[in-house]
């Protein structure tokens, strides 16, 4: 009997290293052809499965699959699309089974965050709920670093490195200008609910390179008076300061400091533009000259300054997922288990998906300094290993030489499906 095929898809917001996980999956599966047949990727995530829009990854050379390790974003396309429960939308699950069956798919690898883990869990239960035998393994990915059990999430380390590096560089800039011009630089970073990414801004300052930084965490209610006092104090002492503000910062009224009123397909508020709001508060309150930046997609696609640790872990998660599948596991997710900080040691672990799906890991409260504006030593010990190491992509004509796969479709065997 021919080995059953695998389905792999990327879900939710992409990262600088999600393709390294894809490479881990594909390369490991290719080495185990007796266990796993073809690897089909979903074009645009789970939508590719629903619409039978499958990509045959065997059409791409090993060199191109290897190049995924240094290419940011989702090579097969991602999506923001959450499967409803079986009760709410049985039609979608029946369609998935139809597609899996006709393409002999017995392995389901889903590369995403908390919402995707929930989708993956539902797929893992198809044998029980609808009688279709399949093994579903979730591969962790999220810049938000908010998945439980795993010590960190692939994607986060590289955003953290980008934000730490950028905050240090912009701080060097503002200190140069501060005598006669800009005194405060405000950088807006991602993070709706938890301040992991904002915390990384704190790494810009270190023992041998002190930089006055104020962090605004979504975990801490914004207090205008305290904030202005802190900025004023730092500018008086150092002549300048940098502010790293999480997009998810809320005021005492529970509202985002900047809420555009839009919502995405998952029902999350669409944010953006808290940096100018904070800058304006500084101007009004202190009359200081400011500049502000919004990193937005740049932070999560910046493969050019990815963390080597992150790239390695992303690859390892993809590889482990396939190994778990071969060993017969279902409804699990490989994890990164930290063994020690100095030297940083970690190993691959395994989590039950039921304990992962829809659980959001918040920053431990002892990672935020008592005044609410900075990170603690404990937080620094946690973060530093995750941004360590550089893993530069190759360049051509001054630009990173990122790969684009052929993404050749698999011949459709079924009728159309409307999502």
């Amino acid at each position: 009997m021919a080995a059953r095929n695998a389905f792999y898809a990327q879900s939710g917001g992409v990262t600088a290293v999600i393709n390294a996980s894809a490479a881990g999956v594909i390369e490991t599966a290719r080495k185990n052809k007796r266990k796993i047949g073809k690897i089909y990727a979903g074009r645009n995530g789970i939508i590719g499965a629903l619409t039978e829009d499958l990509i045959d990854t065997s059409k791409d050379t090993s060199a191109d699959i290897r190049a995924l390790c240094h290419t940011p974003s989702g090579a097969f396309g991602s999506c923001r699309y959450k499967l409803k429960s079986l009760e709410q939308n049985r039609r979608e699950y029946e369609r998935l089974i139809e597609v899996f069956k006709v393409h002999n798919i017995g392995y389901f690898f889903y590369n995403g965050g908390g919402d995707s883990a929930d989708t993956c869990l539902k797929v893992s239960q198809l044998a029980n709920t609808l009688g279709y035998p399949i093994q579903a393994i979730h591969i962790p990915k999220t810049v938000d670093n908010d998945l439980p059990i795993t010590d960190c999430c692939p994607g986060f380390g590289s955003v953290a490195k980008y934000i730490a590096v950028s905050t240090r560089e912009a701080s060097f800039d503002v200190t140069s200008m501060s005598k006669t011009s800009t005194k405060v630089f405000v950088l807006e970073v991602m993070g709706r609910h938890s301040g992991w990414i904002a915390a990384a801004g704190g790494l810009a300052s270190s023992k041998d390179c002190e930089i006055p930084i104020v962090i605004l965490f979504p975990e801490i209610v914004f207090d205008r008076t305290k904030f202005l006092a802190r900025v004023n104090g730092l500018v008086k002492k150092f002549g300048y300061c940098s502010v790293v503000v999480s997009e998810g910062v809320k005021g005492a009224d529970g509202k985002f400091l900047s809420d555009q009123g839009l919502r995405d397909a998952f029902g999350h508020a669409q944010l953006g533009g808290v940096a100018p709001v904070v800058a304006n508060i500084i101007k009004d309150g202190l009359g200081l000259k400011y500049h502000w930046g919004v990193a937005d997609y740049l932070q999560r696609s910046a493969r050019h300054i990815a963390s080597k640790t992150d790239v390695e872990q992303a690859y390892a998660m993809g590889k482990a997922a396939v190994e778990f599948a071969i060993k017969g596991h279902n409804a699990v997710m490989p994890t990164i288990d930290r063994l020690s900080n100095k030297p940083y040691k970690w190993r691959v672990g395994m989590a039950q998906l039921s304990r992962v799906a829809n659980v959001e890991k918040m920053m431990p409260s002892n990672f935020i300094s008592k005044d609410g504006f900075g990170i603690t030593e404990k937080c620094r010990e946690y973060l530093v290993p995750l941004i360590k190491g550089e893993d530069y992509p190759p360049y051509k004509d001054g630009l990173p030489n990122y790969v684009r796969l052929k993404n050749i479709g698999v011949k459709r065997k079924l009728g159309k499906f409307k999502i």
Copy 2:
């Protein structure tokens, strides 16, 4: 007779490579001790000269001076302060001479853009106007790339590389998301009057990596209807597009699309926030989901992704300035003269400062495509060599190990001076 000392200062907005020019000045001067004595740096630019706040660079080790080559922003502090004319503020020039005289300064190296070239020119005339013998050499520096005569300006190549790389990366991100989410990414870049930096966004797309990009140049009056038609066309064809918008884009009314109404010390309008304006136009006009980013200081301080060509040219300009001084030149500026595109060859040239000061070099009109939204092949040929090569800084704990000099002050010999 002891060799006369030199004064070096950094002026205006800093860059990722202005310190490489400083290294070029200091290392070359140190090799010519019989001609040039000490190198004093002005703390915060020309203000350091006026207030007799001089830094003795001889207190820093050769290793630290070397490390300037990989450290962004202004190591001695910069300033936005333009000397008025001799007629308008004779007092300031007399003070400069006082300070120069008491510290035996016979060489004046000023590292800046067009406004600074004007200051440097005025200092170069002090022998004639006020009888104080001094040689003033201007060292080109500006991310805006708007100095005349020189083929390009140190600082620009690295911003261009940052914008090209970031645009490519963010475009990879948005194409991944475009099926169900974001379809347009808008990146705001620097450039008040000329679109050099915005043009660099066009490099993100190349023959082997086509990306749909719309550039909004300050040279082209913003036309809402044409712009929306272009964005719509690209999204229909490619499923997504990226927009690179210069902060200086103006509407038909001559007003900046986004003008906060602030002005800096040079009288320039302080801009920021055109990205959200453009994003909103897209939302209103086409109903497409968007993300936007504002690179701001990140783009000009991003030493981590500096162009090797740019670093080398910045150093060469500092070195040449000292060599010109030793040869007895005054009121000149070293230039980068392009000899050929393929292979890229350049040499150091020399320009008379009178031809540089207050002259702004605009983008040639044949660098902008006929429709006004892109760059031409000619522009690409000009830009590509400038972003070529990587020159990574050393890292420590995941962060670039940038140097901070001791910046030890020279003992004051004069009374205070109020600026």
